[in-house]
């Protein structure tokens, strides 16, 4: 059974009554809740020691889910580096919504990961553009979210390896909202929806996509690549 750790900054929930009403157990609690049907799930949050991401926890994690927003800079650089090495070593990573600006996502992308945004109770429609992709399994032509925050292009990311969803927003923008990447032995999925004031993570299709993404991102079992100085596998003739 795939082992998932759901990491959440968990600050909006403490500061903002409106968010707490939507997510009384925190965003991490809501995500853990629907994943528990299929996976072995833990949660971790910013204010725990080591942000809840100890070696023991990471040793026991196949796929890490990341939600952060207002406290990206409070995430310790050493822990970011440790998580990055885990991902390069095979752990899957699912970055949600405002996690686009997290240290871990920026470090893996190599770009600013900047974008346009607007909070206007705005309709979002996520169109499936890769109908063959397992992350879209069970999803219809599009996912419609009645009210969400808008994220708009240009989204400053490397061209995704695979583009699964494209968002339409009522206010006139579009967004690459479901993007896959490979980094080392690890697989990464960025999924746009999930502003803290909307009940997005209770939406059946949003849950389905995250469940599918866990399955897709789980580690591949094989030896780590060998690096460094190596002997030839074949005899090298030297001309004289």
């Amino acid at each position: 059974m795939v082992k998932v750790t759901v990491w959440n900054e968990n600050r909006h929930e403490q500061k903002n009554q409106a968010v707490r009403e939507v997510y009384p157990q925190g965003i991490h609690g809501a995500i853990a809740d629907f994943l528990q049907q299929d996976y072995q799930v833990k949660t971790a949050t910013l204010d725990e020691p080591a942000h809840g991401l100890t070696d023991a926890v990471l040793d026991d994690t196949d796929v890490l889910i990341w939600w952060g927003h207002i406290a990206h800079d409070e995430v310790d650089d050493g822990i970011v580096e440790k998580v990055k090495q885990r991902i390069l070593g095979g752990m899957g990573l699912i970055v949600l919504h405002s996690g686009h600006f997290s240290k871990i996502f920026k470090a893996l992308m190599g770009t600013t990961c900047d974008l346009k945004w607007r909070e206007a109770d705005e309709k979002e429609r996520l169109w499936v553009v890769d109908p063959s992709h397992p992350i879209a399994e069970g999803v219809g032509e599009y996912i419609e979210l009645d009210k969400e925050e808008m994220y708009g292009e240009h989204f400053d990311i490397p061209a995704p390896d695979q583009l699964v969803f494209l968002s339409w927003f009522a206010g006139g923008e579009v967004f690459r909202s479901g993007c896959t990447y490979q980094r080392g032995k690890g697989k990464i999925f960025y999924f746009r929806p999930g502003h803290e004031t909307y009940p997005t993570y209770y939406h059946e299709d949003v849950q389905r996509v995250i469940k599918n993404a866990v399955q897709w991102a789980k580690p591949v079992k094989r030896p780590a690549p060998v690096y460094g100085n190596v002997k030839p596998l074949e005899a090298i003739k030297t001309k004289n």
Copy 2:
């Protein structure tokens, strides 16, 4: 359980004693044999009615494996078109070795699929270049085949969506030997090894790759996309 149909031209086996000695049940028989441990497997060959690819067979196929070489032009155009529509509709396709020149692969690629080749009992080493890919699960740094036919670049294919294996050949060439493509709802994997006079399909790692590829290529369950004239989802304001 994923349902696999192994299609083989099955001509070398009839004409050539040396091939028959390597593959007494045909190449399709050898491939079916190792897949049966994990999948529900059928075989089909060129000389059967409808090349063994009736609607009933295709209705009951999740992933089609294709081996052909000297009789590509005897494959009926109507059946090629039918198989193509199935793939665009979600059936997986694994094209092996000389299948690069099959009508079905060329129709899906849009290029000549031409390449260099040489039969010289030559060492091939297939390096894993995407260590995160599920098709490489369980494989070490490379697969070594002591004697194989050489295929060399330029290989006239579209740039693969994902490049999983790169081959080194003793005679001086390289080859993109494990390539994935998405076409419609279908997923396609091209895998280079498997000349008819060598026992390549008995090699444990070659078998592992084909097994992994079946799992990767299986159809994603979701409704077919809607095409054609559609009504707006949102009211369109007309300026006057």
Copy 3:
């Protein structure tokens, strides 16, 4: 100076007074007109002998532009095959709007190239998603077309090598509207806008994109790849 041939079906212009008023010299005439400032330009149309695409014309063409709609099936298969071989041999191809359903584009893509559509005098906004791409040179954040035909996802094409533009439509759809592909030695650009009843090809940014695309798609001068049976470049040791 890059040599461009603008091919147009030129049927709407003959049948429909409204189209003739927008494009009195035909769509090909309008496109040729703005390209002539920078390139050496010819035109060719369906009803000319060999559809205007004789060997002499193709010998003298670096980049071919293609606009067709209601008479795709009247294009001769032999000429399609000839044009395809030219593209694989290095000639650039720019496919416009309803050319998505042309025989030449479908043959190069390997998919149905189907899509959603609607004629509703609808606003289109083409967002630049690859700000580094030379095809977007000189274009702002987006191109806005006040009235256009809608094309919507799913667009049944292979994942583009590079995605340059994404369209937003007022009625609720999105579309991958600027897509590049490599096939053989040739480069292909699909660009969505240009329904026959709108003055789209007079729009300054649409013209700029097509000009940029010609420059991008021009042939690369180098020898054609060698295919077939080849001798080894290195001595092959045979074990005994």
Copy 4:
């Protein structure tokens, strides 16, 4: 005329007589020399103030070429960050050989950029796998280097946007040796050859590739994308 700055660590040249004999003006001098025929060229080295990469120099640079090896960690982090922002803003970057381990390349890739290596006076053959790419203009089927350092897979980079060259090595390895990436408004080309003890940068085809890459990587002129909080472009209806 495109403005190029050739940056070189320039340490081997100071420490090692053998290197000095191959490159009496330094590697940067040799590269600048052949680029001066077509471009406006400056050089910069590690031991200059600000490593020679002042704002004035960067303001006057369209494409930066980077060669480093034994002193990557002496490159100032602030300067690396400044160069990174320039690249995201549109400056082209060509990373050569051991520059794979430079801070700037690793920061843009998000991976370790690790690889296998061996110094054994070994033959390298770089095969062109994308015959349509302008970086391969004028190059034959392959470039042969009689003696080079070996770099072998797995090369821990993100899957390249475009793969132009694949290397074969006599000792049994392969390598993705010509890779393009887009990051922000900038374009990046990694090109493998160029160990300091070999006269690789005097090879006509190596020079041709670097010249082509400069042309390909030059900045695209268009406004920088807008990021942050934006107003809607269309009226947003709020349901009640």
